[in-house]
Amino acid sequence: MSTAPIIVSASPHVHSDRTSKKLMYDVVIALLPAFLVSLYIFGIGAFIVTAVAIISCIFFEYVIQKYLLKTDVTIGDGSALITGILLAFNLPSNLPIWMIIVGSLVAIGVAKSSFGGLGFNIFNPALVGRVFLLVSFPVQMTTWPTPLANRTIIVDAVSGATPLSIIKEGLLFGESMSDLSSKIPSYLDMFLGITGGSIGEMSVLALLMGGIYLILRRVISWHIPVMMLLSIGLVSGMFWLVNAEQYANPMIHLLSGGAVLGAFYMATDLVTSPMTKKGMIIFAIAIGIITVLIRIFGAYPEGVSFAIIIMNAFVPLINKYFKPRRFGAKVKSKIVT
């Protein structure tokens, strides 16, 4: 007989082997292919930015929990790690290091810890950090190194604009889409990731691979990514059908500007997305619409980050109004005689 006491606790007495930690590390695994592509395209810069973002996010989480809030330190749960990676993925690979650190502080300190930590934040922390940097340092945040050049050094020289910024500027200066078609990369280059842009938004292929992995591992469901991309495609397609010279076609919208990164990794953030499938669909469609509207009518060429943050704010409302259907609600006894 064992001497250890018998435990009495309420049922259930078994538990699924899925833990939040495992979910978090699945996300990290899913992001690896995209990271490798960015290493190939931007070289050492991508590595440094990502490393700095991860380290500073975990560092701020640690310091805030240990010394400011004096609570348990939970840096091992993987959530700060993911915030770091996702923040880096939304930054140019030649961003000054101190800006990355500021972005991390905003992400962890303002967007996460001040709301109460993991699970209590309303907005996606990485996106808040990114948007903060974008509005504070617009120049540095919207200049990218040329893909596949200068991979061993960090460059100040700027040239590789994103397809969406090329289009935005071109249209402003009165060019038409057919004039611009030679300036933007081919669909294949965009799909593979050989284009200007932030570290993680490059390769649609790599992002899709990770996204499918997440869906297969049931970390995320298909509802948000599929509906969001569908919505971006349809809304941009409607503009394009009205005037193909003034509006970019849906392919360009889907393959650029972090649409895929946002759809699979940012909008699906468990904490800041709705909890029912119905809610997810509404949420994703709205993000798609807002993204396209910002891209076409807004001051910024890209709109995914803003669209997700805007919709994050509606999540509590969506959760309130799109509840699961209660079993047995609104059915009448139907005795067939």
């Binding site: 435990i7 606790s9 078994v14 909890m275 699961p324 067939v336």
Partner: protein, 442 residues
């Protein structure tokens, strides 16, 4: 595609390690401890006294009301004590202690009745038999069966559903019973169909019991009104409402009963007990119990007399293994953890599960990451995370509006929560408070 209920549900590891073990007859216990509250409802009233001699099947406690049940002596012997002992609820409950008379032959006869197919009793006699012979739901809820069978004439019952789902991991009591008593179960079904004029009966069995499906299909072939529905393996399909939805696609209304959709559901074990009561005058004094656990030397299924201390059963399977940290009366999803093995087997004991060290402790609860898993798996369409939150804050009016009372306590939410949050613990607490508040109001 096999039938199943559409909303929610989980698929925990089945671990049906005793499914090939024939049900063995336990040796007669020296002493039995028979609690008077073995069923849902009012406890029975003791009608014997200390030093009384009792025979097998003699009524020792009489039904205490409409929702209550008679209790019979499982052995021939002498009442030694009327005592309070801790049962699986964790509370001390009134209980009749009987020392078995080792000389009384009736204790050792233990006959195996031959199959008897002719139904001789009338409708009223059958219903009286169920009432008098202490039949309660043996699926675990122990709801007195006569209450379920009390159907008003205008309440048209179209289907009798037989619950052979046994969706709890580990448990194989119903599975074995279906394999070993298939013909008797069919007769039991016919008895109920006859008594209540029910035109159709369907036996629901999950597809991890293919042998039972096959056997009961064969056994029911003679009666065109009885059929077998093979169901996809999904917990909690054995829940009454889920089973009705799975087989008939009918949804019992929120605060309604199966009768509201023309259905009565009974567990296979109950059906067998009714068969024995009606055909052979045998009250409910024994049942099938699965004694199981990964570390046991010889886990098995047993015919056990009600009132047998669990330690007798544990001895039968080779004693408690080294490092046992948890004992469960029932299955791992809905069973009750018990403190020691002195607790007796009651009418509701479908299994004893012995859990080793490494599976006995719960994970450390972490922050809710709002993943929504609890919402997806809830078979009742509730939002467990919200119910826990509101209960924690004491917002009982709001939890009532969020339908907390419709929770069937299947535990799927706690099972899946990746942050190991004790969702069901809070929901149970919330339910108990809401119930108290409602009684106070009335």
């Amino acid at each position: 595609m096999l039938k199943t209920f559409p909303k929610g549900g989980i698929h925990p590891k089945e671990n049906k390690i005793t499914s090939s073990k024939t049900i063995q007859k336990m040796s007669i216990p020296k002493v039995v401890y028979v609690p008077i509250a073995q069923h849902i409802g009012v406890p029975a009233e003791i009608v014997v006294d200390r030093k009384d001699k009792v025979e097998i099947g003699q009524v020792i406690a009489k039904s205490g009301g409409y929702v209550s049940s008679n209790i019979h002596s499982p052995v021939a012997g002498t009442v030694t004590k009327l005592d309070k002992i801790v049962d699986s609820s964790g509370y001390k409950k009134q209980c009749i202690v009987i020392r078995t008379d080792q000389k009384n032959e009736s204790n050792f006869e233990n006959p195996d009745y031959p199959l008897k197919t002719e139904i001789e009793l009338s409708k009223a006699e059958i219903l009286d038999r169920v009432l008098d012979f202490g039949i309660v739901g043996l699926g675990g809820a122990t709801f007195p069966s006569h209450v379920k069978l009390n159907v008003k004439e205008d309440n048209h019952i179209e289907f009798l559903l037989i619950n052979g789902v046994e969706c709890e991991p580990y448990l194989t009591a119903d599975h074995r019973l279906m394999l070993e008593k298939a013909d008797e179960i069919i007769v039991g079904i016919q008895i109920l169909m006859h008594a209540l004029h029910i035109p159709k009966a369907i036996i629901g069995i999950e597809n991890n019991k293919k042998d039972a499906i096959k056997l009961l299909k064969k056994a029911s072939a003679k009666d065109e009104n009885i059929s077998v529905a093979a169901l996809q393996v999904k917990y909690p399909q054995g829940g009454e409402k889920q089973l009705i939805k799975a087989i008939l696609k009918r949804e019992v209304p929120k605060n309604g009963l199966p009768m509201d959709v023309g259905v009565i559901v009974h567990n296979v074990g109950t059906i067998f007990a009714i068969y024995e009561a009606v055909q052979y005058h045998k009250p409910l004094i024994e049942r099938v119990v699965t004694v199981t656990g990964k570390k046991l030397t010889n886990p098995s299924n047993f015919w056990v007399k009600i009132g047998t201390p669990i330690k007798d059963l544990v001895e039968e399977v080779g004693g408690l293994p080294e490092g046992t940290r948890k004992l469960v009366n029932g299955g791992p999803m809905m069973g009750k953890a018990i403190k020691n093995t002195d607790i007796p087997v009651t009418k509701g004991t479908s299994g004893i599960l012995i859990i080793p060290e490494d599976e006995a402790t719960r994970g450390e609860p972490k922050n809710c990451i709002r993943c929504g898993e609890c919402v997806y798996v809830c078979p009742m369409g509730l939002e467990p995370h919200l119910l826990m939150n509101l209960t924690e804050k004491g917002l009982y009016e709001r939890v009532t509006n969020e339908d907390i009372m419709t929770c069937i306590e299947c535990g799927s939410c706690s099972y899946v929560c990746p942050s190991h949050r004790p969702l069901l613990d809070y929901i149970r607490f919330g339910k108990s408070i809401v119930k108290k508040l409602e009684t106070a109001k009335n």
